[in-house]
Symmetry: C3
Subunit: 223 residues, 3 copies
């Protein structure tokens, strides 16, 4: 997990996605920035200690018959070092919008991981690269019969009917075993002290509980 | 897997969830008591030999705007030894209703596992505790912006449109790799001899099949 | 993974499901033959190097109140060596239509794997047999209260609202980490040279990308 020059990324790497969501809930961000349905597939399937943090580099796929013109260049050749690629695909697309060659190129560019709001493929290859991939699901088919890229580094919405949440270029994305969280860039400096305080309180509560104290008592003592 | 004083729990630990469902189907219990959608996440994701058995201790979350008052005490501080915590959450809630501190406290109380009909979080922590958790899915966000506890040790319905099935306090819950089954407490003594007979027949059928006998012939011989 | 006498099976075993889908997309087969929702459960859950290839031997379950008569014999006693069993179950059935004894018998018959368009059970047993199983989901309950077999070796449709795709007896089924693909039998000889060409091009592209070439440049060079 490469760490960019951004000191906020370095700080965020100390915390879990749950810590970030706890802080964002305190700031009244709905669902604490949680992006439901995006889970870890590579290097391992919801196992291990993978954690990625970086600014979002977004890619927007739309149906082939969408009036938007196709984006003139290939997004994969312009990834900033330290970025997390976030690919948005129309819901219920059975085909993959991301594969092994994309990760091969992303890794050379210094991307820290890819998050696919849709399906991806070439799982053996992703794991052989030891490259972090979060996604909604797998597929075997290429995308070109159904979708096209209409925008790069534009705001995209999470493709679910259960949440109304946007991922904008340079928002921070944080991914680990629990899932993926988007941290709006303008809130990054505000969440860090909130998280430090919360994590310390939780550690103290856990310690007292293990020693036999009731949860409510321990909570009152440290929160 | 702690075993309580209850001899039925000790007996049930000899059998798989499939054995229990087979017996319940013979007694005309729909779906053999199977609770669809609740799968093993900790200590491993649908791997290993985890099996939990115990009486249900239920917790009912409702939407924040539900007219029911909030339950006056925290459920986590009153768990009976040997119990399985069953937490019911309104469907399509993106936030978690269960986390690492809850398992820390549950484990100290002697609970044998937790089953979340909804989302939970802190997967690293759950696994570090080596505590069994079954759930519908993961999340990163805390529950308080969306739901509240309205009942403890009250009957709850499985949160699915595909089944109409209830979990009542002290019904037996059995969980393993295949999923979770609820065994109505009044049927527990009836299923045990049915299971013993069925498992013995299945073992004999498997042996004959491995020796080259056709399935139908082996079945007629032993069932 | 037993290989039958069929030279096409032997050739197909050199390729991934993604390779097959790439070739089928070139031949305008929708979704490149991908069968969404069918994932690897045994011998490992979406891990390892499992790959199965073989002609489909289909089994069609229908609701118990369907007017079709029940199939007169048990499908499991007539599996051709080298076949892949494909079991179709009505959608939203919480019960399993396949279990450990079926795999025990299938393995003796020389089947190379089973693909369940529905739920299966006895996961420990499937893994102990080291037998490949792909399926939609798990269950604990037997099927007989809800469904019956109405046809063996008849065409079946994938049970999803998102795709309109049929699996016919002797179509080739290919399954690996990425999922399952159906290759219509009449296209098998046509896809093999397409795949060889594509895989070679992809390997060259990957090599150039790792050496620092941009994706678009590498693609223009080799495709």
């Amino acid at each position: 997990m490469a760490v960019g020059q951004d000191p906020i990324v370095k700080d965020l790497l100390q915390f879990t996605t749950c810590d970030v969501s706890d802080a964002l809930c305190k700031l009244k961000v709905p669902n604490g920035g949680f992006l439901s349905g995006l889970t870890l597939w590579s290097p391992q399937r919801q196992e291990g200690m993978t954690r990625i943090v970086g600014p979002a580099y977004t890619v927007k796929y739309v149906p082939l018959d969408d009036p938007s013109p196709k984006h003139p260049t290939h997004y994969i050749d312009s990834i900033p070092t330290g970025a997390i690629i976030f690919i948005s695909c129309p819901p219920n697309t059975p085909n993959a919008v991301y594969g092994g060659l994309m990760s091969t190129r992303a890794q050379v560019s210094g991307a820290v991981g890819s998050i696919i709001d849709g399906r991806f493929r070439d799982l053996h290859e992703q794991r052989a690269l030891n490259y972090p991939v979060f996604a909604r699901d797998l597929s075997t088919a290429p995308p070109y019969e159904l979708v096209k890229v209409a925008g790069v580094n534009v705001p995209v919405k999470l493709q679910t009917s259960e949440q109304d949440i946007e991922i904008r270029p340079d928002d921070y994305l944080i991914g680990d075993l629990n899932g993926v969280v988007v941290l709006p860039k303008e809130l990054a400096k505000e969440v860090l002290p909130l998280m430090r305080k919360q994590v310390e309180a939780d550690e103290n509560v856990a310690k007292e509980i293990k020693g036999g104290m009731k949860f409510m008592e321990a909570t009152r003592k440290f929160r």
